[in-house]
C-alpha cells in the first residue's frame, strides 16, 4: 500500500557519499524529510526520497557537506514527464477511459428472478415497451415507474423490484399464490359418465342418483341428476335444481390388440462414431465436417445448444452437436416363448404409461394367437376408475 502511494507520488533513489552520512540523515529527519530503504554501500548510502521532499535535502547537504547523486527516478510524475510529447498516447488513455464510462452507462443484461407461472418473455416484452431494453441508457430508466407498470400489467405479480447494478438490470419479483379453482355451486349440473362400464361404487353428496351399483352405463349417460324433487303431492311437484356432486367408480374394460412380428432387427453398435459441431449463426448453418452417409447404418444423435447472454438473452448463435453411431443390423427371430414375454412387457409398459395412479387394475387377460406373420396379442384389461364428469344442466 505504501509502495503504491509512493509510486503515485514519484520517488528518487539517491546516493549519498561523504564523511558524515549519519549526520546528514539526522539533519534531514529533523527537517521533516521522510526517507526509506536506506542501505549502506561501500562508499556511502543509498536511500529513497519522494520528489517533493528531495528539495528539502538541500539544507542538510549544505550543512554536512555530503554529495548527492540521483541514481534513478521512479513513479507516475516521471512517467508522465517522459511521455509528455506523445499526444496520441494521452488520447488513447482518454479514449479508453471515456469508452469505459460510456459503455458502462448502458444496460447490457437483464436478469429476471422469481418467475414461476408468468412467462419471462412476456415480462421482457413489457420491459422493452417501457424502455428497459438491452442497450438502453441507464439514466433514462426510472425503475420505480417500470415497477408500477409491471404491477399494473401483470395481475400475478405481488411485488417487484428493479435493481440496476452496473450494466445489469436485476428484476426480482414475487408471484401471488395461485387462486384455488372455484366451483360455482350455483350452476345446476348433472353428473354424467365419461366412460362405459359397470358401476362399483357411487357416493352422492348432492343431486338425485339415477343409477346404482352394478348398473351398466354408457358414455354420456346421466348418473346423478341435478333435479331434486322437493315436494310431490296432488297439486304438483316442486323441483329444485342443484349442483349435482358425486364420486362414481366403475369397472371399465380396455382392449389392447397388436401383432408382434417374430422377426426383428437388433442394432449391434460397432463402437465407431463420428462427431461434429455445426453452428447456426443468424439463421445460417455452417457445417464443418459432413458426417452423413459416412456409415451405411447409423443412429444420429443431435443436441442443440443456444449461447445465451445472462439467462434471458439468447445470442443468435446455436451450436449443434451431431454424432453418428454405426451399427450392424442383425435380423433375429423370437421363439414363441420370447415373443410372449416381449408382448407381456409391452402391455405392462403401456399400462404404466396410460393409467393414472388412482386407477386400480383388477384384471388382465392376455390371449396369444400364433399366426404366420407373428404373434397376435389380444389383451383385456379391467380397471376400476372414476367416471364422473360434470355437465351443465339445461332447464
Amino acid at each position: 500500500m505504501q509502495y503504491i502511494w509512493n509510486f503515485l507520488r514519484g520517488f528518487v533513489l539517491v546516493k549519498i557519499t561523504g564523511l558524515s552520512v549519519e549526520r546528514f540523515i539526522n539533519v534531514a529527519a529533523f527537517n521533516g524529510v521522510n526517507m526509506w530503504d536506506i542501505f549502506k554501500t561501500r562508499d556511502g548510502i543509498v536511500m529513497k526520497v519522494s520528489v517533493k521532499e528531495f528539495k528539502k535535502l538541500k539544507d542538510a547537504r549544505r550543512k554536512t557537506g555530503v554529495k548527492l547523486k540521483i541514481i534513478s527516478k521512479t513513479g507516475v510524475p516521471f512517467f508522465l514527464f517522459r511521455y509528455r510529447k506523445r499526444k496520441l498516447l494521452l488520447g488513447g488513455v482518454l479514449f479508453f477511459l471515456f469508452t469505459l464510462y460510456f459503455m458502462s452507462s448502458f444496460i447490457w443484461l437483464i436478469d429476471i428472478e422469481g418467475t414461476e407461472r408468468i412467462e419471462v418473455d412476456a415480462i421482457i416484452e413489457s420491459l422493452n415497451r417501457e424502455g428497459l431494453t438491452v442497450g438502453a441508457f441507464k439514466n433514462q430508466i426510472s425503475p420505480n415507474d417500470i415497477e408500477n407498470i409491471l404491477l399494473e400489467e401483470f395481475d400475478d405479480i405481488s411485488w417487484v423490484n428493479i435493481h440496476i447494478r452496473g450494466t445489469r438490470a436485476h428484476i426480482t419479483l414475487t408471484e401471488i399464490l395461485p387462486k384455488p379453482e372455484v366451483i360455482d355451486r350455483g350452476i345446476p349440473t348433472n353428473v354424467i359418465a365419461s366412460k362405459s362400464g359397470v358401476i362399483t361404487r357411487i357416493a352422492t353428496s348432492a343431486g338425485t342418483p339415477l343409477r346404482n351399483v352394478g348398473d351398466l352405463v354408457q358414455v354420456g349417460e346421466i348418473l346423478v341428476s341435478g333435479e331434486v324433487i322437493v315436494k310431490q303431492d296432488e297439486s304438483g311437484e316442486i323441483i329444485n335444481f342443484v349442483h349435482a356432486e358425486s364420486e362414481v367408480w366403475a369397472r371399465v374394460n380396455y382392449e389392447i390388440n397388436f401383432l408382434l412380428p417374430y422377426e426383428y432387427i437388433e442394432k449391434q453398435f460397432t463402437g465407431r462414431t463420428r462427431r461434429t459441431h455445426d453452428f447456426i449463426i443468424f439463421g445460417k448453418k455452417i457445417s464443418l465436417i459432413n458426417i452423413d452417409n459416412y456409415y451405411t447404418n447409423y443412429d444420429r444423435i443431435t443436441s442443440t445448444r443456444q449461447l445465451k447472454l445472462g439467462e434471458n438473452y439468447p445470442l443468435p448463435i446455436i451450436t449443434v452437436r451431431r454424432e453418428a453411431r454405426e451399427f450392424m443390423p442383425i435380423v433375429k427371430r423370437h421363439s414363441p416363448e420370447q415373443a410372449r414375454e416381449t408382448a407381456n412387457r409391452m402391455i405392462t409398459s403401456r399400462i404404466i404409461r396410460e393409467f393414472d395412479f388412482e386407477t386400480d387394475i383388477i384384471d388382465k387377460i392376455v390371449n396369444f394367437t400364433d399366426t404366420v406373420e407373428g404373434l397376435q396379442v389380444d389383451a383385456l384389461i379391467t380397471v376400476i376408475e372414476r367416471i364422473d364428469v360434470q355437465e351443465e344442466l339445461e332447464y
Partner: protein, 94 residues
C-alpha cells in the same frame, strides 16, 4: 555509567495518573516483530550506521542494535524502522 534520572515531580505525576511514559517523559518506545523488524519511536539521532551495527541516541542513553544486513526501512523525525536480522539490542552510556 550515569543513570538517567527524570524530573522527580513529573515522574510521580506520570506514575500516579498512569500516563504513557513514552509520550510524557519522551522515552524511546521499541517494538519488535520477530527478529527482523524493529521500530524505535522517540529516538533523538543516528550516531552510527553500518550494516552490522546501528547506534541511536535516545533520552535514556545510546541504543546499540547489532545484527546482519541492517537497513533503515523508514526514517521520519520521530520514528525509525529497522529491518534485517537483529541479534542484539542493548543500552549504553551517554
Amino acid at each position: 555509567m550515569k543513570k538517567y534520572i527524570p524530573d522527580k515531580f513529573k515522574y510521580k505525576v506520570v506514575k500516579a495518573l498512569e500516563l504513557p511514559k513514552e509520550i510524557v517523559l519522551d522515552l524511546p518506545s521499541l517494538s519488535m516483530i520477530g527478529n527482523e523488524e524493529l521500530s524505535v519511536e522517540n529516538y533523538k539521532s543516528i550516531i552510527e550506521y553500518k550494516p552490522e551495527l546501528l547506534r541511536l541516541n535516545t533520552k535514556t542513553g545510546i541504543l546499540y542494535i547489532e545484527g546482519k544486513n541492517l537497513c533503515l526501512k523508514q526514517v521520519t523525525p520521530d520514528q525509525i524502522r529497522i529491518t534485517g536480522c537483529i541479534l542484539n539490542i542493548k543500552y549504553g552510556g551517554f
